[in-house]
Symmetry: C2
Subunit: 121 residues, 2 copies
């Protein structure tokens, strides 16, 4: 039960689109992730997903509504089942809150971008 520092967490890895578990509570986790450029279109049929931008600029595109533009300190919840595509307009640091086992690419076909969440070492 030691505090985790977000700056140290983000400094501990470089890989983009590969969320790390920073902390777990109940069946949910706070994950830290680095985004850059375009991700894949996907949805999470079983869970809502919260994005909180720590640094950078994140656009979240939707099929059927206006894009959401998030800067530092902005958060957004994408409801379950809503197809979306994160696009980082510059190297961006993001906190995610979602069930621990949530796969980053959701219902999209597995690809090089698919990562099981891993714990911070």
């Amino acid at each position: 039960m030691e505090p985790v520092n977000l700056d140290e967490s983000f400094a501990s890895f470089d890989e983009t689109w590969a969320p790390r578990i920073a902390a777990e509570l109940n069946d949910h986790a706070v994950k830290v992730a680095k985004f850059d450029g375009e991700f894949v279109w996907h949805a999470h049929d079983e869970t809502d997903e919260l994005f909180l931008v720590r640094d950078g600029r994140l656009r979240i595109e939707f099929r059927d509504r206006d894009d959401a533009d998030l800067g530092p300190g902005d958060l957004l919840v994408v409801p379950r089942g809503v197809e979306h595509r994160p696009v980082a307009l510059e190297p961006t640091e993001v906190l995610l809150v979602e069930p621990t086992e949530t796969l980053n690419t959701g219902d999209a076909a597995e690809s090089d971008l698919t990562h099981d969440p891993e714990r911070l070492s």
Copy 2:
């Protein structure tokens, strides 16, 4: 499905020890709260509770282990059932992640400090 800005959220209220719901996902919420001084000893028997300090200095005291000292960017999960007392050493802004309906004073007797979580207006 509009982004929420944390600076604006914290600027929208002054009351201490009265968490506001900034966003909800599944059965959990991200809440924003202002702490100052000593809170009451309590535990949450049904849920873990995550504290993330946005600004200020937060000490979390425990009955049976060393205190945890958190500054900006530090987060800590207090497991369910663990008695704790938050003490803000200066005016402090905190994000909480926990089930939406979690009562701030947990199993402590209801007092002037007890607040049902309310949504940001």
